[in-house]
Structure formats: structure tokens, C-alpha cells
């Protein structure tokens, strides 16, 4: 279980994440929605500790994650894998090595730095690639792959970390519709088959509705919605997205227009 308590991150006078409280049980598939600049990326980066909080705490299974240092911090990062909008692969390294980076934390440094991966590690990496139908690309340079293929490599890297939670920061933002489906299906399968918790930032409300079993809405760093996808009515979406609302919603969607009890939290 992931517990976030009063999490705040400031950049100068700007508050990117503002006093966010959130509880995510194991195995959940949670979509984090909100317009760009709402603080979605910062929130995920705080959980992986790529960013340091200005205030607040993060707990995983009751143990505090904020404040971990050195070895313990790297272990935590290995347990909460991250998938990025820009894939964040090493372009000139081959696909297999990029995936094996996900095993770094389980291999002694002198072996990993010399790329002396064990057969077991190679097998795990290849199995992950096979799961996403890209095993035959194992020897290619990552930079020669298409965006959809690169994102699948990144998800394979996340998977071989054998994480307990996967944080995906707008994993489909730079992909076409077909690859969008492939990548979201991959995340959904990981969630279903292995029970790995998924926290996924999404710009598109429709995608969020189809894949997530719970939505969390951020606006200007504050948590302004938390509930089932059905509970997010058109009015709430408009408040969440402002002028961008038309872009992220399928306007013809029935049911959206019918008023539902406001799921907004006290923060607004």
C-alpha cells in the first residue's frame, strides 16, 4: 500500500505539488489526470525520489520512503519502476542492455559495469521482450526503434526490475493511436497478471476512463478529484481541465452530461 501524506514540492515561489494526500492499495490501476503543469510528473518523480519533497511523507507498506539514502534509496527505486514520456533509454546501447539496466540493482557492481550479465538475467530480459513481441530487436540500438517499440523496451526494463509498483509518466503522450493501445494494454496486463500496482499519468481522459479503475485529478498541484472513472462528470472534468476540456473528452460521450453527485474533495 502506498500512502502519501501532505506531500508538497515547491520550485521557487511556484508550488508544483500542494499538500497531496493519497492512499493506493496494492494491485490498483490508478490514473492521474489534469492539465499540463498540474503537477502530475512532479508527483510521480517525488514517489521515485527523482525529486525531493519540500514537505510531507511517502510510505510504502508502512515504511517511510522519503529520507532514504544510498543503498536503501537505490533499492526503493528498483522496487518502484518508472516509465517516462520520452522513454529515457540509452539510445546508443542495444535493446537487451537497456532492459538489463532494470537488473542493475540485483547484480554486483563489478559484473554489471562490465556487462557480465548472468544467463539467468539475460533470460529474464528476453522473456520480458518476448512478452511485448520485440525479442527479435534485442541486438538493435535503441535509438533505431520506433517510438512505440522504444516505449515497450522501457516497460520491459521496468518489468525486469520485478517492481511492486510502476509509475508511468504520460507513457503514450508521444505515440500514435495504435501504439497507444499497445502500450496501455502492456501496462494493463502487467497490472492484471502480476498484481503490480500502476500509477499512470494521462492527459487523455478517454484513455484514463478505459484503463483505470480509479482516477485522481490534480489541478495546480492540489488533489481535486479522487474516485471511480464514472464519478467524473462533465462538470468536474471541465473544472479539472478548464479550456483544455474539449481536447481530452469525447464530446459525443453519452452520460457525461447528466449531473452526478459532486465527487470533489474539500480542497477546492
Amino acid at each position: 500500500m502506498l500512502i502519501i501524506e501532505g506531500l508538497t514540492r515547491r520550485f521557487g515561489d511556484r508550488v508544483a505539488v500542494d499538500d497531496v494526500c493519497l492512499e493506493v492499495p496494492r494491485g490498483a490501476f490508478v490514473g492521474i489526470i489534469g492539465r499540463s503543469g498540474a503537477g502530475k510528473s512532479t508527483l510521480l518523480r517525488l514517489v521515485n525520489r527523482l525529486a525531493e519533497p519540500s514537505a510531507g511523507r511517502i510510505l510504502w507498506d508502512g515504511a517511510e520512503v522519503t529520507g532514504l539514502r544510498g543503498r536503501a534509496l537505490r533499492d526503493w527505486r528498483a522496487r518502484c519502476a518508472m516509465v517516462f514520456q520520452g522513454f529515457n533509454l540509452s539510445g546508443r546501447l542495444d535493446v537487451l542492455t537497456n532492459v538489463l539496466v532494470g537488473r542493475l540493482n540485483k547484480v554486483p557492481a563489478h559484473r554489471s559495469l562490465l556487462c557480465l550479465w548472468s544467463d539467468a538475467d539475460r533470460a529474464v530480459a528476453l522473456a520480458a521482450l518476448e512478452r511485448f513481441d520485440i525479442a527479435e530487436l534485442a541486438a538493435q540500438r535503441a535509438e533505431h526503434l520506433s517510438g512505440g517499440q522504444q516505449q515497450r523496451v522501457a516497460i520491459a526494463r521496468a518489468l525486469v526490475q520485478e517492481p511492486e509498483i510502476i509509475l508511468a509518466d504520460e507513457p503514450i503522450a508521444s505515440l500514435d493511436p495504435r501504439n497507444t493501445r499497445v502500450v496501455m494494454e502492456a501496462l494493463a496486463r502487467i497490472n492484471r497478471d502480476y498484481g503490480i500496482t500502476v500509477l499512470c499519468n494521462l492527459h487523455s481522459l478517454d484513455i484514463a476512463r478505459s484503463y483505470c479503475d480509479r482516477l485522481v485529478g490534480l489541478s495546480a498541484g492540489r488533489l481535486v478529484f479522487d474516485g471511480a472513472p464514472d464519478a467524473l462528470d462533465a462538470d468536474a472534468a471541465r473544472r479539472l481541465y478548464g479550456l483544455e476540456a474539449a481536447d481530452v473528452m469525447d464530446a459525443a460521450r453519452p452520460g457525461l452530461a447528466s449531473p452526478a453527485p459532486s465527487p470533489f474533495l474539500a480542497h477546492t
Partner: protein, 287 residues
Amino acid sequence: MSPARVLTLHEAALADRAGLIARHPAVFRRVTAARLGTSLTAAAALGLLAFGLWRLEFSPGRIAGGLAQLLHFLGMMLPPDPGSASRAFLILRGLAETLAIALLGTLLAAAVALPLGFLAARNTSAGRLVHFLSRRALDSIRGVDALIWALIWVSVVGLGPFAGVLAIMTSDIGTFGKLFSEAIEATDRRAVEGVTSAGGGRLARIRFGVLPAVLPVMAGQVLYMFESNTRSSTIIGIVGAGGIGLMLSEMIRTLEWGVVSFIVLLVLVAVAVIDTISGRLRAGLAG
């Protein structure tokens, strides 16, 4: 009657000229501070040039007088001629030594500069103090020319190619360190972040996030420096640090102009060959 014709932009502007001048006086000013500044700077630069020419006893007459001498020497350089077969062999051996000095010096410099480059790069350094100190250290090494390093090393380890290798190496550590650290700072932050997010430490970040991107760049820089060091190591030979340079300076002193032009031609050919090969290799690395 036809309606009033619409004025073209040109006509409208001319009709409203007085109004435009009144609304934007700054645009119409002839003498501006910036223009005045430019003129003054140009005048000062010209004055400095004139003063320099006078102070350093620049004299067109002496060039004209020397020109005849130069033509005379050029005439004696033709045809290039090593004199004897044994001397031709000596010259070739000197050239090979010069190339060896350049190659060894360049590779050693690159090897030493690699870790220094990481320490001097903002994104891979170990703390602000280390970053600052390694930057300054590289700057100071780079501030001293290879020729001066050659004089220093000759007096430390004696005459010969060993001093030459050391001279090339020391002067290039600074250059390589700076080039390497800039290549490292220019690498994509996202690849490094990917390694960090998977639980990688500092060395893993460098190994999997930075090195794959910068190694080809560095190899290209090493090849380029090898090219340019072939020229430098000819020069440092003159102060006794091994290679063809020593023989070249002796031949100039003893006025054996045929041999001089033979050596110069050989060096030119060697540099051109290395230039071509390394150009091909660098193009391959970039792909």
C-alpha cells in the same frame, strides 16, 4: 463616382510621415549612442594597429629586401633532395618517430583526461569543489603550450622521444579534459534519469547513461588531436624532444635547402594521409 481608392501601404506611410516621426522619434534619429560607440571602437582599433606597427618596427622596406633572399632560398629548395640514401633512411626514421610520439602522446593524454573529464563535468562530478578544482587544473595545464612543456620535460628526463611523448601528453590532457567534459555535459539527461530511476548508482549512471553517448564523440576528438599533434611533434623535435624536427632545424641552420624541402614535403604528405584516414574514421563514428 467611384469610392475613394484604398491607399497602398507605401502611400499611406508617406502621407503620415510627420505623424510616424512624431510617434517614434527614436527610430528616425540619425546619430544614436550605438552608432557613435561603433565608430569610436573602430577608430580605437585602427589607432591600436598603427601604434603596434610602429612600436614593433614594422618596415615594408625590410620585407622587400628580404623577399629577394626568400626567393633565393626557394630556388635552392628545388629539387627536394635528401642527398644520400642513408640520409633518406634517417629522415624516414625520424618521421616514424615523430608519428609515434604524436600517437603515444595523444593516447596517453586521452587516457588520463577521461576520468578528469568526468570530474570536470557538472553532471558527473563529485561535488562542487571537485568540479571547480578539476576545471581550474585543466585550464592551467591547457594554458601552457606543448613547446614549453617540451623544454620542461627535456630538462627533466633528458633529450629524446620520451620527453616528446610527455610534452604532447601534458599539453593535451588539458585540451582533452575540457573537450571531454563539454561532451559529457551535453549528453541527454533523460538516459541518465532512466538509469537512476531503475536504482542505478553514480558509476552505473555513467556506464549506461553517459558513456554510450560520449565515447564516439571522444574517439572523434582523439583522432582529430592525433592529426594536429603530428604537426606539433615536428615542432617540439626542434628543442630536442625526438623525431624529425631536430634534423629539420639542423638542415635549416646548415643551409641544406634541398634536404629541408624534402623533409617538409614528407611531413605534409604524412599529415595529409592521417587527415584522410581519420576523417573517414570520424565520419564512420558519427553514424
